[in-house]
């Protein structure tokens, strides 16, 4: 149902929300020794989610999870680079807003159709 109503945008919104959590985790662990920063490859994660919605159970729930490659490795093994994380967070927030407005548009369309305006 969700799939038919919102198309790709429902799944995309979930992936964007997950990615926001992952990047926030990186920011939180900016000073943790040995922490390896992670990120979600949006395309891969979205494909996996859509495949799962179609019934492919074999899809890995961790699909699209990638390790961040540091520009300069630090001595304590931490791979968080705050400039990267901040840009990624901002980019993800904008993309989330965009996806949200698509979902809102769909909802508005349906509401208008129901009210018969």
């Amino acid at each position: 149902m969700n799939e038919r109503l919102f198309g790709i945008h429902g799944a995309a919104l979930t992936v964007r929300s997950e990615r926001m959590g992952v990047i926030a985790s990186n920011i939180a662990n900016a000073a943790t020794p040995g922490y390896k920063a992670r990120d979600i490859d949006f395309n891969a994660a979205l494909d996996a989610r859509l495949a799962r919605a179609k019934g492919a159970n074999s899809a890995n729930p961790e699909a699209g999870m990638v390790w961040r490659r540091p520009t300069m490795p630090s001595l304590d093994g931490n791979t968080v680079e705050l400039n990267h994380e901040q840009v990624a967070f901002a980019e993800n927030a904008v993309a989330y807003s965009a996806t949200l407005s698509f979902v809102q548009g769909k909802v508005n369309t349906i509401t208008r159709a129901l009210k018969g305006e």
Partner: protein, 136 residues
Amino acid sequence: MPDRTPMTLFSMTTRAMSAQMVRMNAATSNLANAGSVSSTEEGAYRPIRAVFAVELDKASGLAGVTTGGLVRAETAPTKRHDPSHPLADKDGFVFEAPVDETAEMVEIMESARQYQNMVQALQTAKQLMLETLRSQ
């Protein structure tokens, strides 16, 4: 912890900010004790440092941060010859706390920046969540 509520973006941020607070308090204690002297080498103040550890929540995929504890630095206290000092030992030496004020100030600044970063991230996330909730 066995029966813990799943980690949300909010609880994760709270924990991260608490961890930064512990770190900042440790650095402030070090600064406060800079220049304190003792009559024995063992009695001298040693700087403390907060050690962070990752706290991975498998259910939500979020990685929080906790303070794994405080460690005392192994730096030897500065031995200074000052026979007129009331705390001087029989040879006229006092032991000064080995606190590097500059390093502590940098630590506090870095901690404050990371705290700010966390607040900013939380604000953005909260705003997006509210937008999602309010959309009709």
